[in-house]
Symmetry: C2
């Protein structure tokens, strides 16, 4: 049965803990924590799922489609990346501590412990195999859990490297790179997140002995949410308000030791710990941190861009803030790129499961037809799932477009500017920019796309989970925890709602130049200029027949909303606050335009025609149309109001075009998700198994891995005990 | 500090388990599981949040509004219900095992154990205080966790009572009522959920010895998701396909013992257990169950409505299926009613927190103004939260409307029919109804509203959680687990997508009678008739000025979509499957009409004018308009297409009416959520505290309750151990 098919050996040990000292009252628990689960009786092992088997159904699906999965995978990721991934996967799978079979069962403390063990192992493997950043990212992607060293490597080292002087590199960076210091990046506080300038932690310059006093004046100034701080780190890069002679100079980064390097106990006048469980991300020890007038030396302040002169106590100013945009743009572009595969993972699991799951007969099926219908055949399932499949491709191509734009721009910028301010600060709304216009365009774009794409990925995952009905709710679906762990992305690196103000600010500024008659200097101002000239004439885009006119309709709608918002702000003098919902809508519309445009341009690129076979290419065009027309139909109000399209077009898009596309794409759904090439080990999902053995895997995990089944309860309400002596439960013939 | 303010005593015992035998490798853990957390040093205890204090901010909010909270609470729930609630709350709070302070920290096994302990205690209290169903529901509502006895009381007893004969009551119901048998209701299988007629479990009649053989022919026929079965139950009401002489008679209920009443071990040829962890609902032991030709006596088949004659082996048919609708309608009406307070709970927490949370200054604030803005003042927050506040009232009133309609109809039906089929079966799409037309109208209505209202509540809770930004992600917000536990509601008692077919079926049928020229006999056919007559003339509803015309616009749109769907089905002969998305949209539109109508009618009722003070009544009208206009604006495409409203009206609704309503309602938000009257004990939320001590509570839970902080790690990757000997961590001066 399941076990025989699915696993050659049971996991060596069961880590589930006993609660001998529970406050629930006196009861007897099993004396042996490693007691096996009830033996599965032979008559159960002989059972198979009812026909047809999931494996046969998926085989049929794959046979019925001519999508060339290998070519499409290579186009998405490159052949090199895929074989690198396979090598690393092999290494990871060989490590018992990286086994995932108990992950869904562990409580917070055990889960976190296990994650620390994984982190240590990954570090050891990285050293052993000489992995660079790229390989480490691949390994983490395969493991698919945030691990306790993540912020040490992702933020602490980067901050020291970017903002430290050569002397500071020697003193702080070197031991950190060798994992003698384990660091974290302590910015957010209990009382302040988005508003970095409102941080309360103080760094008071003391000219007498040339030190800084790091101090937390209020409870709300406690650092909070700091990844890797709760239990792991012994050092922190602390963002604190620099005070010289009683005058504040804004937040700056300070390196502060927080735990003893030998005993790992808190250092004097420091209070830190883990902030407790969260909706997800429970493999990470997000922490809190308070300082009671902790003295640090002058070189604790990372001084590459700004510093305090120890002799004069003068503040040495930072140069141009160009690099602010650079770093933030890179981080956000990465989020955009990852949003595609984040969503694709949920779509992969749901598509495979819904091709195996059968329920009801088709109402209009011929009378003689037997057996139930695959749920993927129902249009109500298709219309939830297939547009998300199309979205995954759309997001991936948009992310790739953003990344290459970023890289091109970065090269240009680097040749003209070499300094920058500290990171992690967004310019305020409408704040005057001193950086390059090029980067500010990219900045606006990346803000809007980060907001939209991560929202689409998060919400899309929930749609996938629910499309799977009851079984989607089981942890074994693998989608719930993935969704929960992904959710912080909609808040960090710029809250998805707040960020849209930046986009609106950028677009309003661009529209003002158009009204002043300036010549367009990029795609955004070109679209605005076109709309501005034609606004009274109107437009008539043939969205049903021409792909390029779909893109134009999106551009038109975005321009329309831009000028509407500008009118409200500049002519009607409406308050900024009263316009926030309009700005959100505008940012969303503009970003949807960018996605449609990037998808369209990818399809026009010479590389896609050479790399994909014609049949797959045709399908990619259909996915483009599905994404674009389905989104247009969902957001049709703006398209009407702006006269970009007619009511009749929308009606046809909804009732004909989209429904036809669903029908055309349906037979290829399984192969299309196969092209995303997720190994089963990565998905850790009963429902998303490549081989379709959905029910066997569900049963195996429930019956043979689930530690709750070791407990025999006393079920009666008046019993003084919760558990009986006899355990484990025994199945009998 | 926090602890002193928030809690007079630390929870007596910490139940967190040690993992002495972890598979993570050799390490030293603390030898004392009950070791205290690091002592909080005095300098930390002296800290307060930065000014202004949350408690002052909420006090100001309450002072600035004239909503009469007490009157509004009484109107919502009645005074009697509230004082009954308070009495029960007092009893529950006095029980240490019902303390909630460790709930967010527990892993699955401990969480479930704790829940069983709670269930036993609640049963003991129910006996002691002679609680009826009403009181038990109140207690469960306050505890707010699914408990392991839930399906015994909610489904097993009900099934025996409704479908058993007097002899079966004596044999099975009595011991179950005394908790000598603990039962569950085993319907859903691994391979079949929504399609009850597809269940695979067999009950084969054996005329020779007058028994039934209960048998699971495949792995997919394993019962699955069965609440209370995994560990708790020793009896099950099993839905199985009745087979007599090789002929199938469809699913029928059988009472089957599954565990030994003394040892609680599985009985021979039965294999059962817990199905493992889920996205939520982890305090419940949902189970699986397989039978290997288990013999049960003739009286195991619940025989009130249908039976097998033991002598002739003839099947005795059930009578009218009227009661099917009755039971399902009652269950769905309850879900509609509960959706209001389910959502209100999230809105309460978010509103209080966002009135305490301050971030950034208002961009257009006068130059001299100091301090940050309450986040509740930002329109981008308001437009997410306040329509949900309005929705909570809308859902509550709709639920109350449904319940009284149900009760009125039930009285009528009971006088004409006394028999029925077994429960839990929806008629197939377009299946001919033999029951009363009255009930079929109520059935259609309850299907649509169950689908829409539970979706609104679930999705609204996620919106509330995200509106709280970073801290919303903490378990201490209390919204994440509430959302996760609520989610099954969108799937059970009719999947929210599947159900909409029933609504469409009902509406299409009604529209056909209208086309045939039949006189309208209820509200639905009246609306359809009005639309049918006026469809070429069109409509012009004054949605901006007249409340009743808003209701009419919703009715018009629903009728428009009904006739569109009818045209597609009857004239264009489109397949049922191809119309599912249109049916979903139609059901949603019709249900939104019902919500708007119920809210409107509540406002017109004499009772509301007499019970509420005029100022609060005015506000309720504004909440009605906010719900109706915001929803209309969100769904504006249909309203355009059907010519119910003009583009200009929608634009004004969006930019003026809704924004003005947000401004008008904002000052009353805190008092409005106060009127839902959730005790802090029930909410179990740092962010939703009535007194606004948000940050103190967050800090207290993290620093003083969080068991992870007992572990001192060895942070270095090459270390052979995970943990050091020294524990707990000690803060030093």
């Amino acid at each position: 049965m399941a076990k025989a098919i699915l696993s050659s050996s049971r996991p060596s040990r069961d880590s589930i803990s006993s609660s001998k000292n529970s406050y629930l009252g006196p009861y007897h628990s099993t004396s042996d924590d490693t007691a096996t689960m009830a033996e599965v009786p032979q008559w159960v092992r002989n059972l198979k799922p009812a026909e047809p088997q999931g494996s046969d159904l998926l085989a049929q699906e794959r046979k019925a489609s001519n999508v060339n999965v290998e070519k499409l995978s290579n186009f998405l990721f490159t052949k090199e990346a895929l074989s690198r991934r396979d090598e690393i996967l092999k290494i990871l799978k060989a490590e018992p501590i990286l086994d995932k079979s108990q992950d869904y069962f562990l409580g917070r403390v055990d889960k976190w412990e296990h994650a620390l063990g994984k982190a240590k192992k990954v570090r050891q493997l990285a050293v052993k195999h000489n992995w660079g950043d790229l390989e480490k990212r691949v390994a983490n992607d395969l493991i698919s859990e945030p691990l306790p060293y993540a912020l040490h490597e992702g933020m602490y080292l980067v901050t020291l490297r970017d903002q430290g002087t050569p002397a500071q590199h020697e003193k702080y960076l070197k031991p950190a790179e060798n994992f003698e210091h384990i660091g974290c990046y302590a910015q957010t506080e209990l009382g302040h997140g988005s508003n970095v300038r409102g941080l309360e932690t103080l760094a008071i310059w003391n000219p007498e002995d040339q030190t800084f006093i790091i101090h937390s004046p209020h409870l709300t100034s406690s650092k909070w949410w700091i990844g890797s701080l709760g239990r792991t780190a012994n050092y922190a890069a602390v963002m604190a308000q620099l005070i010289i002679n009683g005058k504040p100079y804004g937040p700056h980064p300070f390196v502060v030791p927080i735990r003893d390097l030998k005993t790992h106990q808190l250092l004097p006048n420091i209070y830190a710990g883990d902030i407790g469980p969260k909706f997800g991300y429970n493999t990470m020890d997000n922490g809190y941190l308070l300082f009671n007038k902790v003295k640090v030396p002058h070189d604790a302040m990372l001084a590459r861009f700004s510093a305090v002169d120890p002799k004069t106590s003068k503040y040495l100013k930072p140069a141009s803030p160009s690099l602010i945009y650079g770093t933030l743009t890179w981080v956000r572009s990465t989020i955009v790129l990852m949003s595609g595969s984040t969503l694709a993972r949920g779509v992969t699991i749901a598509t495979r499961y819904l091709a195996v799951r059968r329920q009801f007969q088709d109402r209009d099926a011929p009378a003689g037809q037997k057996g139930e219908n695959q749920t993927l055949n129902y249009t109500m399932v298709q219309i939830r799932l297939l547009p998300l499949l199309a979205s995954a491709f759309a997001l991936h191509f948009t992310g790739k477009g953003m990344m290459s734009l970023y890289e091109a721009n970065q090269r240009k910028i680097k040749s003209t500017s070499t300094t920058g301010d500290q990171k992690e600060r967004d310019p305020g709304p409408e704040e005057t920019q001193s950086g390059s216009d090029l980067l500010s365009d990219l900045h606006g774009t990346s803000c809007g796309l980060k907001s939209l794409c991560s929202t689409m990925a998060a919400e899309g995952l929930e749609v996938c989970r629910r499309a799977m009905g009851g079984h989607g709710y089981s942890s074994f679906s693998g989608v719930g925890s993935w969704y929960a762990d992904y959710l912080p992305t909609v808040t960090w690196e710029g809250d998805n709602f707040m960020l849209t103000q930046q986009v609106a600010r950028y677009l309003l500024k661009a529209a003002r130049t158009v009204i002043k008659g300036q010549d367009p200097n990029n795609d955004t101002t070109e679209n605005l200029t076109y709309f501005h000239k034609r606004r009274d004439v109107g437009a008539a885009f043939d969205i049903l027949d021409k792909d390029d006119e779909i893109v134009s309709a999106y551009a038109w709608r975005s321009a329309y909303l831009t000028f509407e918002a500008l009118h409200a702000r500049d002519d009607l003098k409406k308050s900024w606050n009263s316009l926030l919902p309009a700005f959100y809508q505008l940012s969303r519309a503009h970003s949807q335009y960018l996605i449609v445009k990037n998808f369209y341009e990818t399809l026009q690129s010479p590389s896609i025609s050479s790399e994909l076979d014609p049949a797959t290419l045709v399908l990619m065009h259909k996915l483009f149309r599905l994404y674009a027309l389905h989104t247009l139909e969902q957001e049709s109000a703006d398209f009407f109001t702006s006269s970009a399209v007619t009511v009749q077009q929308i009606r046809l898009a909804r009732t004909k075009a989209v429904m036809q596309l669903l029908e055309d794409i349906r037979p290829h759904a399984v192969r299309l998700v196969d092209s995303w090439s997720f190994p089963d080990w990565q998905l850790n999902s009963s429902l998303g198994r490549y081989d379709g053995k959905v029910y066997e895997d569900m049963f195996y995990r429930a019956a043979e891995l689930n530690p709750l089944n070791k407990r025999i309860v006393d079920p009666y309400p008046d019993s003084p005990v919760l558990f009986r002596k006899e355990a484990p439960e025994k199945a009998r013939l």
